[in-house]
């Protein structure tokens, strides 16, 4: 009886200890049994049989075996504070400001990287412009089909863009190109007037890309749009940027500073324009937007570097960024007829949309768009990213909800 109670007590004490500690380690144990059943985990048997190479077995400390409850934890939001800010640029001027626009657009003013709303609220949201040209041109069918009936009339074309949701109209005076129609600056100025009268959204005026002619054309456009705070597109290192700056200052406009994919050159150009007397908040940087699949990785990194540099205090890079997302149409995936990669009716606008959102997340503030579907999706996405959308419900369990 005594023996039994001793071993019972031992067992009881042992159980008590195990309950308190969760686990105990006993050395030099001898098992004296008749039958012993070992249950081998499948992973072990497959290692032994050679079916699977020996995995990196993780060191298991004795404490791990008995976690009963979720560990308590709190998430610490990793906040950064930037010493610099991007300047705010206004495009368009209302009647009380000396122009005739019904709406104006403000871009820039960032205190943090794009949509880092956990960290700070940026004062302005991305804005969307749509492209028009001062003459009919060969556009891919997916774009052309929306403007075919208005391509001969820039004023009507501008109206069409506003119907499609454009907040800004980007008029490209390509007919002034000496290799095209070589139209005069005076004619170009008339076109600018027509468009200003047709719509009351802010305007961007682009030249043809001809370095000799553009400053003259932009100068004439600047005069025709006096007081309207338009955006002159563009000054670059190869053209007479001084002349463009003078025109901008004389008539109260802003200027796009364009450089082909180089942060250092973008900085240099801004410095030059500033030294020529252009106010800092009258500069918009265009560091080149490449189409998805055709160098968009450069665009991402250059835009991120510019935005970061500005926020970290580099005063020559504290301007908002222009991103012509419509460059996406240069990609063959956007325009080419090829059933192997699906219908171009979908591929095209999707290509422009994804090029746009990529540039937007990298720091783009003002976008040029060709396809109406892109404008619609882009505006919706911005509202979503700002948390302004109201509709829809939360999906509890996507695994089953998808059917």
């Amino acid at each position: 009886m005594g023996e039994e109670s001793e071993s019972t007590n031992l067992v009881k004490n042992l159980l008590k200890v195990v309950q308190e500690l969760g686990e105990i380690e006993i050395d030099n144990v001898t098992l004296d049994v008749e039958q012993l059943e070992l249950i081998i985990q499948p992973i072990v048997s497959s290692i032994v049989s050679g079916a699977r190479p020996l995995p990196q077995l993780q060191a298991q400390s004795s404490k791990q075996a008995q976690i009963q409850q979720l560990l308590e934890a709190k998430y610490a939001t990793p906040l950064e504070q930037y010493p610099g800010r991007v300047v705010e640029v206004q495009i368009g001027a209302t009647r009380s400001e000396g122009g005739s626009r019904g709406s104006i657009v403000k871009i820039g003013g960032e205190r943090t990287m794009p949509f880092y709303s956990f960290e700070a609220e940026n004062p302005n949201r991305p804005a969307f412009a749509m492209d028009i040209f001062d003459m009919p041109l060969s556009l891919t069918k997916m774009v052309k089909m929306h403007y075919e009936d208005v391509m001969g009339d820039p004023a009507a074309w501008a109206k069409r863009c506003v119907e499609f949701g454009a907040e800004v109209v980007s008029l490209n005076l390509i007919s002034t190109d000496p290799l095209l129609n070589d139209t005069s600056p005076q004619t170009a100025a008339k076109t600018v007037e027509q468009v200003l009268q047709a719509v009351d959204v802010p305007i961007i005026i682009g030249g043809s890309g001809n370095k000799q002619k553009d400053p003259i054309v932009l100068e004439a456009a600047a005069a025709a749009a006096a007081g309207e705070r338009i955006l002159l597109n563009s000054a670059n290192t190869d053209n007479d940027h001084k002349r463009i700056v003078e025109a901008a200052n004389k008539y109260g406009h802003s200027v796009v500073a364009f450089t082909p994919m180089d942060v250092n050159n973008a900085k240099k150009l801004n410095k030059t324009l500033l030294s020529e007397g252009l106010p800092k908040d009258h500069i918009v940087i265009d560091p080149t937007t490449a189409a998805l699949g055709y160098g968009i990785d450069y665009t991402i990194s250059i835009m991120e570097r510019i935005k970061l540099a500005g926020l970290l205090g580099d005063e020559d890079l504290q301007m908002p960024v222009l991103a012509p997302a419509s460059n996406a149409w240069g990609a063959r995936e956007a325009w080419m007829k090829n059933e192997d990669i699906g219908p171009r009716e979908l591929r095209g606008p999707l290509w422009e949309t994804i090029t746009l959102l990529t540039a937007m997340l990298a720091g783009g503030d003002l976008f040029m768009i060709s396809h109406p579907a892109t404008t619609r999706v882009a505006k919706g996405l911005v509202q979503d990213l700002l948390g302004n959308s109201a509709k829809g419900g939360v999906v509890d369990d996507w695994v089953t909800a998808l059917g």
């Binding site: 993780q58 610490a76 055709y294 990194s301 991120e304 591929r347 999707l350």
Partner: protein, 472 residues
């Protein structure tokens, strides 16, 4: 490796004997290679072989290890690696493992549908920039709620394709049934998911079957840290974080914010957060209701793209339409391109196909993108020709012409150093349509005739057919 890791802190842990066994001139050089991530601590033979360096080696391995754990899923040829990231912005160094794309199947689908989706996913292949773009995994969803049904679906998927799997169920019984299917657990499937309600059972499955496991806590970061810490304390190391992919009701903002915050926290080496991130663009299909499937696939495509832009290391997509998947794969390739590598190819003359004395001669730039696109188009068209690759300092045609780097002299240089002139019975080259203005210069400088070719290299085939043999 955190951004703050310095050359000296690495060097201090090395033997500093400059023995050269690692292949570098001295220990400082070897330290540089480690910083660039082109060599690992284990590449120093003395440190590996000699026990006196053991502690330092361990310290170095921990130091060099990326802040975001690299998690392997699958086994064999199609093994997927996710995570391993060290920087927030790609320009700070480079990203390392591209986002894995998993296509879903459900155990409610018919065997035929499952089979066809798996085959299509496995076969997807597009070439861009000389590299293959593929889809990476199959995510099998236990939608039926029946463990046996889930297990037999997993069995079927495993037989039909060799892609790594993601087993999706919050019911440990179903997950276990799938893991018990022969041949499945050996292939290291990703377990989706451990939640606040099932973490113990699912964590134990991950331990027992040695699989990576997702910690899922929709829009609750406190919950996510708690869950990940708990799994960590169970000894699990291969964890993937799911902060929830919410796209409706104005919650896209939260989703994107969560991804940025988590990536930052991970890189700052905050406890239990140094893990890859998982997103599920496929959720758009759950709220699609009566919406047109084309519209939903379109949405899924751009939402997936948005998430790839914001640090998603693995995504689950439902749409298999090529037009919806292609832009996501293309974007992924672009983002994960190493920004440190040169984007130009070697200049010179390339022979494409079987050439002879009357073969056409085409001209292009040495910008990698241009070169690969043009090569691709020529090969696809079946044209046999010579291709002169001019050294335009890695610039494309239009930019190169505008900036002057693509000029007659550069083309002449290639002609000068090659033997092509002697092999031909003509002196005629086709220049890119967008370089038309160089025609005069080229003819004056080289003495060859310069034909103005098509605007886009996709038209080369048609152009050569129509114009090359035409009399002058």
């Amino acid at each position: 490796m955190s951004e703050k890791l310095g050359l000296l802190s690495i060097y201090k842990l090395l033997p500093q004997t400059n023995c050269g066994e690692c292949g570098e001139a001295n220990c400082m050089a070897f330290a540089s290679r480690m910083l660039e991530r082109s060599k690992l601590p284990q590449d120093c033979p003395p440190m590996v072989k000699q026990s006196r360096y053991k502690k330092n080696l361990e310290k170095l391995v921990a130091m060099i290890a990326p802040s975001i754990r690299e998690v392997k899923i699958g086994s064999g040829e199609r093994t997927v690696k996710i995570g391993g990231e060290e920087v927030l912005y790609r320009h700070q160094l480079s990203y390392h493992n591209q986002t894995a794309i998993a296509i879903d199947v459900s155990d409610n689908m018919t065997a035929e549908e499952i089979r066809s989706r798996c085959v299509a996913t496995g076969k997807f292949s597009m070439i861009k920039m000389g590299q293959e773009m593929r889809l990476d995994m199959i995510a099998v969803r236990a939608a039926s709620g029946e463990p046996e049904r889930f297990a037999s679906t997993v069995k079927l998927v495993n037989e039909v394709c060799n892609l790594p799997l993601m087993l999706c169920s919050t019911d440990p019984v179903s997950l276990r049934a799938a893991l018990e299917v022969q041949g499945v657990c050996e292939k290291r499937p990703l377990l989706y998911a451990a939640t606040k309600d099932n973490w113990k059972e699912v964590g134990e499955l991950a331990q027992r079957y040695i699989c990576p496991v997702v910690a899922s806590s929709p829009n609750n970061l406190d919950g996510l840290v708690s869950l990940a810490s708990t799994l960590e304390s169970m000894g699990l190391k291969d964890i993937v974080l799911d902060p929830g992919t919410l796209v409706e009701g104005g919650l896209l903002k939260e989703t994107v914010n969560n991804l940025v915050m988590l990536r930052r926290s991970g890189l700052l080496k905050e406890k239990a957060l140094g893990y890859p991130l998982l997103c599920i663009p496929a959720v758009v299909w759950a709220t699609a209701e009566k919406a047109d499937p084309v519209v939903t696939a379109y949405r899924e495509s751009y939402i997936a793209s948005l998430l790839v832009n914001r640090y998603a290391d693995i995504i689950v997509m439902h749409s298999l339409d090529i037009w919806a998947v292609l832009p996501v794969a293309t974007l992924r390739q672009a983002i994960y391109t190493d920004p440190r590598k040169p984007v130009s190819v070697e200049s010179g003359v390339k022979e494409i196909g079987t050439v002879n004395g009357s073969s056409p001669v085409l001209v292009t730039t040495n910008f990698a993108l241009t070169y690969y696109t043009v090569m691709n188009d020529i090969e696809a068209s079946g044209v046999n020709c010579y291709l002169i690759v001019a050294d335009t300092e890695g610039l494309a045609v239009e930019v190169g012409v505008a900036g002057g780097q693509f000029n007659a002299t550069k083309i002449n240089d290639v002609l000068g150093t090659s033997s092509i002139a002697g092999k031909l019975n003509h002196k005629r080259m086709v220049i890119p349509g967008r370089a038309a203005r160089l025609k005069g210069d080229i003819e004056d400088t080289t003495g060859w005739e310069a034909m103005i070719g098509p605007q886009d290299s996709s038209e080369i085939g048609g152009f050569i057919k129509k114009h090359w043999d035409a009399p002058k």
